[in-house]
């Protein structure tokens, strides 16, 4: 075998998982679908002494909780995109899940893995930012909820403390007259990691003005980014193409992407303005068609 050989544990309760993490704070790592962990172990980026596998904890449930929908951290991308409950409430999340790699990865890769890996390009992060989702974090001392927009602290880094586990994501049901859209620019039609991605949501009040706007951007900052300045351009206004272009420009001003092997910083910055404008226009078109 071409990677280090960690011990392996599949705990049957969260308490056992906490215990394992506590007893080996430096060497234990959590594994879920493994689609990212395994290649990184093989490349020697991760060299865990112990793998704690969440697969027996039943954390894959997608549950209607009235005001919220709770998505278990072990739900796979396939679970998400096949869920009618999620499809009815969060179409932009489904669009993002459909865009993650190909079916064999989507059948294994999990929501929790996509978020905890904390890639700035994580496809599920931006729609969850747009829908005001909360990360449900569990630890020995109890549970806490953190807005997804504050969950990421740097590339590969999250707010999770040693011994804590992301167990679910809770998404509020959107208000009436809400539309959202996820859009991604990649180098090929399938299997592409985003050059830039954007998720937008607008909710309208009775006068047809935008009461709430959310814009999340991927691959343009050290973390999936919420751009409040651009949201403020939209809020309180009646939607039109000019306004969308202005919000796109503001979103572009609000980020300073880097140049890497997938694209240049300059190109990304320009594309943010385009993607945000287009996503808003498409979302708006969908709302009018309803």
């Amino acid at each position: 075998m071409d990677m280090n050989k960690p011990e392996y544990l599949a705990p049957e309760t969260l308490e056992q998982a906490f215990e394992a993490l506590k007893n080996n704070p430096d060497g234990a790592m959590i594994i879920a679908g493994g689609t990212d962990m395994v290649p990184r172990m093989r490349a020697g980026v991760f060299t865990p002494e112990l793998l704690v596998d969440l697969r027996l904890l039943g954390l894959n449930e997608i549950r209607d909780e009235g005001e919220w929908i709770s998505i278990g951290a072990s739900a796979t991308h396939t679970d998400i995109l096949e869920s009618d409950l999620l499809g009815e409430n969060y179409p932009a999340l489904i669009e993002a899940a459909c865009d993650v790699a190909g079916p064999p990865i989507r059948n294994r890769g999990t929501l929790g893995g996509n978020l905890v890996n904390a890639s700035p390009a994580a496809d599920l992060a931006t729609p969850l930012i747009a829908y005001d989702a909360l990360a449900v974090i569990s630890g020995k001392s109890g549970e806490r909820d953190v807005p997804i927009s504050r969950f990421f602290t740097g590339p590969g880094k999250t707010i999770l403390e040693v011994g804590e586990i992301l167990v679910a994501v809770k998404v509020p049901k959107p208000p009436a007259r809400t539309v959202a859209k996820f859009t991604k620019l990649g180098k090929r039609k399938a299997m592409a990691i985003a050059v830039v991605s954007a998720a937008v949501r607008i909710s309208l009040d009775d006068d047809g003005k935008i009461s709430q706007a959310r814009i999340g951007l991927g691959s343009v900052a050290p973390v999936p980014l919420r751009v409040q300045e651009a949201e403020e351009v939209l809020e309180g206004q009646k939607p039109d193409q000019e306004l969308f272009a202005k919000a796109g420009q503001e979103a572009s001003n609000g980020c300073s992407p880097i140049t890497d092997l997938r694209s240049t910083g300059d190109y990304r910055k320009k594309m943010v303005a385009v993607l945000v404008r287009r996503a808003l226009a498409e979302a708006w078109e969908n709302l009018q068609a309803e």
């Binding site: 075998m1 990677m3 280090n4 050989k5 960690p6 011990e7 392996y8 599949a10 594994i31 679908g33 493994g34 689609t35 395994v38 290649p39 172990m41 093989r42 793998l51 596998d53 697969r55 396939t78 790699a101 190909g102 079916p103 064999p104 990865i105 059948n107 294994r108 039609k189 399938a190 299997m191």
Partner: protein
């Protein structure tokens, strides 16, 4: 290093394998069980040459740890033929020139077999989506898509007769 004893079902038969838990399912299938159809290629989930069905779903076996397959049912090409008679999907791949070098074929077949299990009459777009995680350097994909369409036609006709 603790070894684990893995019990699972491969192509319909119960198997017991003692291995290190971080060995991949791909290595167990190829090296322990001598099932050579899943291919080792990119090792990152990009190419799809190692795709097998795990509990009915297409997965990259190079990204699944052996320990994670405990209790699961695995299906590889070796389990498709029925008593020496090729599955219609295999026969249609042959008849339709749906492979040339053959390196992608095992994974490609399992991806589309998984599709047909869930969706016996897929559209062209659904077929394309199902193989979006499988790279083929030779065929240009058209013949593969046609072989799947042909199989879906045959199997649904067969069912309705």
């Amino acid at each position: 290093m603790t070894e684990i004893t893995l019990n699972f079902i491969v192509n319909g038969a119960a198997q017991e394998v003692t291995t290190s838990p971080a060995t991949t399912l791909l290595s167990v299938l190829r090296d322990d069980l001598k099932l050579k159809s899943p291919k080792k290629a990119c090792g990152q989930g990009d190419c799809g040459a190692c795709v097998v069905l795990l509990d009915g779903k297409a997965v990259n076996s190079c990204l699944v740890l052996a320990a994670q397959a405990e209790g699961a049912e695995v299906l590889t090409i070796e389990g498709l033929a029925d008593d020496g008679k090729l599955h219609p999907l295999q026969q249609n791949f042959i008849d339709n020139w749906a492979f040339q070098c053959g390196y992608c074929t095992s994974g490609m077949l399992m991806s589309v077999y998984g599709l047909l299990l869930e969706n016996p009459k897929p559209t062209r777009e659904e077929i394309k989506t199902a193989i979006s995680g499988n790279l083929c350097r030779c065929t240009g994909y058209e013949e593969i898509i046609e072989a799947v369409e042909m199989t879906a036609d045959e199997l649904t006709k067969h069912l309705s007769n």
